[in-house]
């Protein structure tokens, strides 16, 4: 059929085959069943394994459906796995920016802090990991909502609480902030949650560009922003570079 993408059709056919014969099929059998060259079937299977939709039994080399199909509604990446992948880059970001670093993922309409690196000044600080912060009021949350329209709708529907005078509390205000985030590829929140504090965050992308988390720095407004309350470009560069480096790792083989 014209206009349809052949590789998706073939991948879907492979998935249907796997569903009919769980744990029993080899590459050759899949290739034969669909009339595909073995190398094509191999590439499709390798891709499906990489994204979690298929698994290969290490002992028998046979394929089955992957666990990624069981939780299609989630991001497909364990929060603790996200932390492990982000660890080194988050440390480097804290060291370069001189600010504390958080990595977050959406959880029940809020941002679950999955990783926290202290500000590198050895002052007394406590771990925020495991806490949940409001999505509409923080830079991390704006990044996550900007790329997940349904989640943004849910957050709006459940009511936008005001934490400061500057928290976006209307649909229009939040939509404007999210559009701006999408346009520039990163988010700035100035005193959206706590007076005197700002945050800069950027998206963490998995395969296919899927946003599965956000990384950001936070600190006093005067350190993160210039006198016109715009984000300092050098800090934005550090945040975006860290996010890209982690994304390369997440989307990689």
């Amino acid at each position: 059929m014209p206009g349809l993408i052949q590789s998706i059709e073939r991948s879907s056919a492979v998935l249907r085959l796997l569903a009919t014969g769980p744990g029993r099929l080899r590459v050759k059998e899949i290739a034969d069943a669909l009339g595909l060259p073995k190398s094509t079937a191999q590439s499709i299977l390798r891709t499906l394994v990489a994204i979690g939709f298929a698994e290969q039994d290490p002992r028998t080399a046979r394929y089955r459906l992957g666990r990624g199909l069981l939780d299609l509604g989630s991001t497909g990446l364990d929060a603790n796995e996200l932390r492990a992948r982000a660890l080194n880059w988050a440390d480097a970001l804290a060291s370069r920016s001189g600010e504390e670093v958080h990595v977050g993922a959406l959880r029940d309409g809020g941002v679950l802090v999955v990783h926290h690196v202290f500000r590198p000044d050895d002052s007394a600080q406590s771990m925020d990991t495991g806490s949940v912060v409001p999505a509409h009021a923080t830079a991390l949350g704006r990044v996550l909502l900007a790329y997940q329209a349904a989640a943004a709708e849910d957050v709006i529907a459940s009511g936008l609480d005001a934490y400061t005078r500057r928290t976006p509390t209307t649909r229009q205000a939040l939509a404007r902030a999210l559009a701006e985030t999408r346009a520039q590829g990163w988010a700035l929140s100035v005193e959206g949650w706590q007076a005197g504090r700002a945050g800069i965050a950027a998206p963490l992308r998995s395969y296919g560009g899927l946003v599965i988390g956000a990384i950001g720095i936070s600190g006093p407004v005067e350190r993160l922003c210039d006198t016109r309350r715009q984000a300092r470009p050098a800090l934005v560069d550090h945040v975006v570079a860290a996010a890209r480096a982690i994304s390369r790792d997440l989307a990689g083989p």
Partner: protein, 490 residues
């Protein structure tokens, strides 16, 4: 003035890495090359030393991409310890595959060695782990090698010596005191090769490198850059964690755990089966000693949950699974997969899972897995405290498992001290960089280095003392049950 940097080479068991650090100890560039492990027979583990030297050249040039050598103030080397390289002095070519520290081919000769004499002079028990039995094996088994070694044609070195020899074009045959302390040929009192040990192992003195300090300029490489540090990898991690005071300790959590405690300028002999080793020596200052205790099974227990039991898909998921319950439900795992190590030392022991009821889920098992790492750490720390008389006040951690926040919280809970993770995760490379930078004045002194240390995370004990005492008592019963079970086995 343009910025200058320090280049660290971390020649490890599975890979060789080169990291460039700036003055604030921030990573500027990283390059890494993995090398194959060769297992020609059961229990044998070998490396190709020539390949490792090629990898080293490759990672140096990749890490330096865009930087000219005159921007490098010094080179520091940290390395896998105990691994034996023998090479031909004239051609510079290895005469046999390098025998890796994990190799157990020399187990048969241990019973003929006097462990008390060895412990007394070297701080180390008789074990296959250290270099001496491996050198002897090569001299005994490679045809003609002993004769050639006696003629002065063959040189021995651990990886630091091998790399320095090559980096200086064969001009220098040296090692540092931390690496020498792991050969089992160096006397801890004199810090020199011990003639009676050379006689015991039948090793010609002429093949050994000169023992130097961990931080001094040995020579130059790359057209004039000082090679200014060599230090064993676990000692490098101690140094990189800036554990400069007696009582400072670090633990590196990987597949196993390596715990080192700075004990100051006097070596402390362990009454609890720990190893006495040189921590570091800076220039002509007195050496600083350390007690070392290793935990055989930490991350590898998590791998077993994944590969052996299939309960998790990635190691990180152990934390998710463990966090799905609030406690271990009374279940304890003693992972004595290859015996119990310090301070129990029962090589015949097998592991046990105890406290099972129908209430126990995989979440409780996951929690017991993490707790096993924490309680094993506690056992080693208790032994260290007893030996040294130093009470631990804080605990510095590094390594891959420090990504597991729940594990770090449990470690803080069972040790009852704050647990800190430093900002630079690459503590081994950083330790080598620090030692090299100190030798050339890139950093002025230890205080200057401590100023670079920043905490990335800190976990405070939250457990009540009653819960800690009860948990510890139950863990000890679990260990006792592993010993009891194993006693009955043929």
């Amino acid at each position: 003035m343009t910025d200058r940097y320090v280049l660290a080479i971390d020649q490890g068991t599975t890979s060789t890495r080169c990291i460039v650090f700036d003055r604030r100890a921030t990573v500027v560039a990283v390059a890494r090359a993995e090398h194959p492990q060769s297992y020609p027979q059961p229990g044998w583990v070998e490396h190709d030393a020539a390949r490792i030297w090629r990898d080293t050249q490759k990672v140096i040039s990749r890490a330096l991409a865009g930087l000219s050598a005159d921007r490098i103030a010094a080179i520091g080397i940290a390395n896998q310890r105990e691994t034996v390289v023998l090479w031909d002095r004239a051609t510079g070519k290895p005469v046999a595959p390098a025998i890796v520290w994990q190799d157990t081919r020399t187990a048969g000769v241990l019973s003929s060695l006097d462990s008390d004499v060895l412990r007394d002079s070297t701080g180390l028990p008789a074990a296959t782990y250290f270099s001496a039995t491996k050198i002897r094996w090569l001299l005994d088994n490679v045809p003609g090698l002993r004769f050639r070694a006696k003629q002065g044609e063959i040189l021995f070195g651990t990886m630091d010596s091998w790399l320095i020899w090559n980096l200086t074009g064969g001009a220098l045959h040296v090692t540092d005191v931390t690496n020498a302390s792991r050969t089992q040929l160096m006397n801890l009192a004199t810090l020199e090769w011990d003639p009676s040990l050379l006689e015991m192992f039948d090793i010609p003195a002429g093949m050994l490198p000169e023992i130097r300090s961990s931080s001094e300029v040995y020579g130059t490489a790359l057209g004039g850059v000082p090679i200014a540090a060599a230090i064993g990898d676990q000692q490098a991690a101690l140094f990189g964690q800036t554990c400069f005071e007696p009582g400072d300790a670090k633990c590196t959590y990987g597949t196993g755990g390596f715990l080192l405690l700075n004990t100051g300028t006097d070596p402390i002999r362990s009454g609890h089966g720990l190893i006495t080793t040189v921590g570091y020596r800076i220039g002509s200052s007195p050496p600083v000693f350390a007690l070392e205790g290793s935990i055989a099974i930490t991350g590898s227990l998590v791998q077993w949950m994944r590969d052996g039991l299939g309960l998790i898909a990635t190691p990180s998921e152990i934390e998710t699974l463990a966090a799905s319950v609030t406690d271990n439900g009374g279940c304890y795992i003693v992972p004595a997969f290859s015996g119990l190590f310090a301070p129990h030392w029962r090589s015949d022991a097998r592991g046990v899972i105890v406290g099972l009821t129908s209430y126990i889920t995989k979440g409780h098992l996951a929690r017991a897995v993490l707790e096993a790492t924490a309680w094993q750490t506690r056992d080693v720390v208790d032994a260290m405290n007893a030996d040294s008389g130093l009470a631990l006040t804080g605990f510095n951690v590094d390594g891959g498992m420090t990504a597991d926040n729940l594990l770090m919280q449990i470690v803080a809970d069972v040790l009852d001290v704050p647990v800190s993770r430093p900002m630079v995760a690459e503590t081994v490379s950083l330790g080598a960089a620090y030692a090299a930078g100190l030798a050339v004045g890139y950093w002025s002194d230890l205080r200057d280095l401590s100023g670079n240390r920043h905490r990335a995370a800190r976990w405070l004990p939250r457990m009540t003392s009653e819960a800690r005492a009860a948990g510890h008592a139950t863990w000890r019963r679990a260990v006792a049950s592993a010993v009891f079970f194993s006693d009955g086995l043929a």
